[in-house]
């Protein structure tokens, strides 16, 4: 009797639930035959996958690019400590198939933005569930789903909070409609170099410094003019001198380099900033700058005084004290030495990894020294890791709730409820007294708003007010999508522009470019660079490899469109504009 009731390999119980809940038998067939695309098999993704499978879904495709790390294990229950380092999607598939042998899960370890996934790929799914952790990929999925006209379920979770948003471009507000807070806040270069105001600025500076010394120096790095302090550069200087001064040993080189770096970035630079500030009222606090003698002593002592293990233990303790300036100098030198050795062994650039004890200790120490110079309260290495790694706290219990709501919403959708009649669900621990009942709500349903109406867009062209303009065109995804279907191997860019955009759509295109900035058409460039322009003109879409990805199309009138060229054999060229509003 027990076995019969609890047989976990029996899907009939699973379908009974849906059948009874939605009082329909058709739902079972729908569940059985709908293909679902799950993007992201992280915290929410694991829960969603489990719920999909045990709600009876059979055909599921997983896309995830990530590997499993130790800090995932507190919530991603499909993974175990022995799986660390493996692909999430692959392990998740294996585990679920073991739990539920009748499921048919396919896997891609691939970026969702890759060309591996053309529009046709998305079109085969009954719904897409997006359980991603970054803004950029979410925007992309939102856009592709709009082009493919596939319902999308957007999920997100941070700490105690989370939300589920069903999106069907054209009938609901899309992910792009509401401007999202920028994930990476741009900090002015001079703030980082000369006027840090918060400990974050110091940490960012320290990370830049890490890149200057050991990493790949990018132009966006505000310290990029300090190229001569790159370790590779310093090392070359040394080998050059080596011929003349044979006495210097590895040890000496290490000490010398440490001294130079500390002198430059933690003594001279700070003195320079101080001199800048002399004329202003505020001045740097009395710097705890070590004397040359002290520096030498540090250089000799640090190897015995510190160990990687101790630093590792320390970084795991949220209660550890913020390092004193002396300690920060010592740790800084210790880490510099360690990193120099590591660099020498690998002979290649190092990248900052907040999970690496030495890199983290380096950034912590550097930021501590800098913060204390600017009279800012520094952070301990536990907190620095959170800031440097942009770590967002995550809980299994929040993910569970979000993963469940999304699957239930999906079931409701399959049972015949319109996307716009579903609701956005918000899980928020902040209690809300409701006037009528005087109670608190943990999971709040929110009505789905329709996309911003189109007439506003037209209005903007009349008003031409800069402010209004920018504001109204904010959701391009909901209004200005052009789906181009053509045989990409035969249609040239000129044909696409002349026959397609100009004739069929009555547009005056100004420029067409891909998201990575590859300009395939520019109306003004024709005369200036005739050869290049002609070459592009005559190339087919397939030769330029711009099919199956979003394009930005700017009209002469200043209206932006988003385009997508879908490759289909035997179709000469047809452009359709998706989602004209007002019909609804």
């Amino acid at each position: 009797m027990d076995d019969e009731c609890h047989s976990h390999a029996d899907p009939s119980n699973i379908y009974k639930g849906a059948e009874h809940c939605f009082s329909s038998c058709q739902i079972v067939e729908k569940i059985r035959h709908s293909k679902i695309l799950l993007i992201g098999v992280g915290g929410v993704g694991c829960e969603v996958l489990k719920n999909l499978v045990f709600s009876g879904f059979v055909n599921i495709h997983l896309v995830d690019l990530d590997t499993i790390s130790v800090s995932n294990l507190n919530r991603q229950f499909l993974f175990r400590s022995e799986d660390v380092g493996k692909w999430k999607a692959v392990v998740a598939k294996d585990r679920i198939t073991k739990l539920c042998p009748w499921s048919q899960i396919t896997v891609s370890v691939e970026n969702i933005r890759s060309k591996e996934f053309p529009l046709e790929f998305f079109k085969q799914f009954a719904a897409v569930i997006c359980a991603l952790d970054n803004h950029k990929a979410r925007l992309y999925v939102n856009e592709v789903c709009a082009f493919a006209q596939v319902p999308l379920f957007e999920t997100g979770s941070t700490g105690y909070q989370g939300q589920v948003t069903p999106i069907l471009a054209g009938s609901t507000e899309c992910y792009n409609c509401e401007p999202k807070p920028q994930q990476t806040e741009h900090i002015a270069v001079c703030t980082i170099r000369h006027r840090p105001e918060s400990v974050e600025h110091c940490i960012v500076w320290a990370m830049y410094l890490f890149d200057v010394l050991f990493g790949n120096l990018e132009d966006s790095n505000p310290l990029s003019d300090e190229k001569e302090y790159k370790v590779s550069h310093l090392a070359r200087e040394w080998t050059f001198e080596d011929g003349a001064r044979k006495t210097s040993t590895e040890q000496e080189w290490e000490n010398m380099t440490c001294e130079r770096v500390v002198n430059k970035f933690f003594i001279e630079d700070l003195q320079f900033v101080e001199s800048l500030k002399k004329d202003t009222l505020s001045s740097l606090s009395i710097l705890n700058i070590p004397t040359q003698e002290q520096l030498r002593r540090y250089l000799l002592n640090v190897d015995t005084k510190y160990s990687v293990e101790d630093l590792k233990l320390e970084e795991q303790n949220p209660h550890q004290l913020v390092w004193t300036c002396d300690k920060a100098y010592e740790v800084l030198i210790f880490c510099l030495k360690q990193l120099l050795r590591r660099w020498k062994e690998s002979k290649s650039a190092l990248t900052f990894d907040e999970n690496d004890t030495i890199s983290l200790a380096f950034v912590t120490a550097a930021s501590t020294v800098r913060a204390s110079a600017f009279d800012i309260v520094a952070k301990n290495s536990f907190d620095v890791r959170g800031i440097a790694g942009r770590i967002i706290p995550a809980l299994s219990i929040t993910n569970a709730v979000i993963g469940d709501i999304v699957v239930f919403q999906l079931l409701r959708f399959l049972s015949g409820t319109c996307m716009k009649d579903l609701c956005n669900a918000r899980l928020s621990q902040v209690s809300r007294p409701r006037p009528r009942y005087l109670d608190e709500v943990i999971i709040t349903p929110e009505f789905i708003r329709p996309p911003v109406a189109e007439y506003v867009c037209r209005l903007s062209l009349v008003c031409l007010s800069e402010r209004l303009f920018g504001k109204i065109l904010r959701c391009i995804i909901c209004h200005q999508l052009l789906l181009v279907t053509c045989d990409a191997r035969n249609v040239t860019v000129r044909q696409f522009i002349e026959d397609g955009l100009k004739k069929q759509m009555n547009m005056e295109p100004f420029s067409v470019a891909t998201d990575v900035g590859y300009i395939i058409y520019d109306s003004e460039q024709d005369c200036e660079v005739p050869v290049e322009a002609q070459r592009i003109d005559k190339s087919t879409i397939a030769q330029l490899q711009v099919e199956e990805q979003p394009l930005s199309i700017l009209d002469e009138s200043g209206v932006y469109y988003r385009g997508w060229i879908r490759h289909q054999c035997d179709v000469s060229l047809s452009i359709e504009r998706i989602f004209s509003f007002g019909d609804d």
Binding site: H20, S55, G403, I405, I443
Partner: protein
């Protein structure tokens, strides 16, 4: 601590090391049918790091037409479930009641009855929290367990899923104290932090509370508050007072139905609906016509379990259990309803008959003024 510090890093950043170490030391007892809800809750707790988890299965049931259809996936039986959970967190001690009893009672427990063994277990006071996963367990058993928990200062949580509806009823005793981080102190601490440039301003707009929680281990301004919970019996006998009479009368009806009706009746949808109507009349519960229609829909899923609803409720309950272990923040006072169809999960206060309304109003007022600031 070191390896667990890495594993639990993402949650330590949320609730601090102190709470995490409390969780690692905590002992929780789950009792009920081996259902999806039980599995989900056990899974969530084990992942979060609960130190000792003892699971008891209520096995006393008769086969009827109304037999619930559970969706379980971690194991066929309790032993398998325990094994599967131990794999999820090898550090946790996960035991069945039987193995726990063998280990901790020198002499064998004489009682044959599940309930008696469970009572003995609770009487040892080895658990802080007892969760009753109440599928088809009759009210008398639930009330009895609640009484035993109350007598032994064990926090008691009652959880039930009926199709697309989920219910939590908490009885944390007549004197439950917790640390309340009220808004003014939050603001004060933030003010303090801004002065010292301490705020992590990754996302200012919607992570207010998360930000403060982030540093809850360094918080010094706390208020201690006390709540007085009615017992489960008082709550269930007082459903008419609730702002959602429909949900609660349905819950009460399902309990009755599981005890009595489903054994005898032919069990078709119309039959259930008729019985529900009779139940409402009998208890003189007034429900709006429009609401009544949706209650008829409820009747169709009285004995099924949807994994997505179960694990949603388990998630909410898991969060509550963390609150209970850490004694931080106000737990659900005292009932929680989740309706998957409308996506609404709300906390409702159902007063006991003994506690007079006036007092509870004052309580509410006190709270709402805090939110107004």
């Amino acid at each position: 601590m070191s390896s667990s510090a890495i594993i639990y890093d993402r949650q330590i950043r949320l609730w601090g090391l102190q709470t995490q170490s409390k969780i690692l030391k905590s002992k929780v007892f789950l009792f009920g049918y081996h259902s999806g809800l039980l599995e989900e809750l056990a899974k969530d707790l084990v992942l979060t790091g609960v130190g000792t988890l003892v699971i008891g299965k209520y096995s006393e049931y008769t086969e009827t037409s109304g037999q619930p259809k559970f969706v379980t996936y971690l194991g066929h039986d309790l032993e398998e479930l325990v094994k599967a959970l131990s794999v999820l967190n090898p550090r946790a001690q996960i035991q069945t009641v039987n193995t726990f009893v063998e280990k901790h009672f020198s002499e064998k427990v004489e009682e044959q009855n599940d309930i008696q063994i469970v009572s003995r277990l609770i009487e040892t006071k080895s658990f802080e929290i007892c969760c009753l996963i109440c599928e088809r367990i009759g009210c008398p058993v639930a009330f009895a367990l609640n009484r035993i928990c109350r007598d032994n200062n064990t926090l008691f949580v009652y959880a039930e899923v009926i199709g697309a509806l989920g219910f939590l009823i908490l009885d944390l005793g007549s004197h439950y104290t917790y640390h309340y981080l009220n808004k003014s102190s939050k603001r004060a601490s933030r003010l303090r932090s801004t002065n010292r440039n301490e705020v992590i301003a990754l996302d200012d707009s919607d992570s207010d509370s998360a930000q403060v929680d982030n540093h809850s281990y360094s918080m010094s301004i706390e208020n201690e508050r006390t709540l007085e919970y009615p017992t489960l019996e008082q709550v269930l006998s007082n459903i008419r007072q609730s702002p959602y009479p429909l949900y609660f009368s349905f819950l009460a009806f399902v309990r009755r139905w599981k005890e009595e009706y489903c054994m005898t009746s032919q069990d078709c949808l119309e039959d259930r609906q008729r019985q529900f109507e009779m139940f409402l009349q009998l208890h003189k519960i007034d429900i709006k016509k429009s609401e009544l229609q949706s209650s008829y829909n409820f009747c169709s899923f009285m004995n099924v379990e949807l994994i997505s609803v179960s694990s949603c409720l388990a998630g909410v309950l898991g969060r509550e259990i963390v609150k209970l272990i850490s004694r931080n923040e106000k737990p659900i006072f005292n009932t929680f309803i989740f309706d998957a169809f409308s996506c609404l999960g709300s906390i409702v206060y159902i007063p006991s008959t003994k506690v007079d309304r006036k007092r509870s109003r004052e309580d509410e007022k006190e709270d709402s003024t805090v939110y107004d600031i």
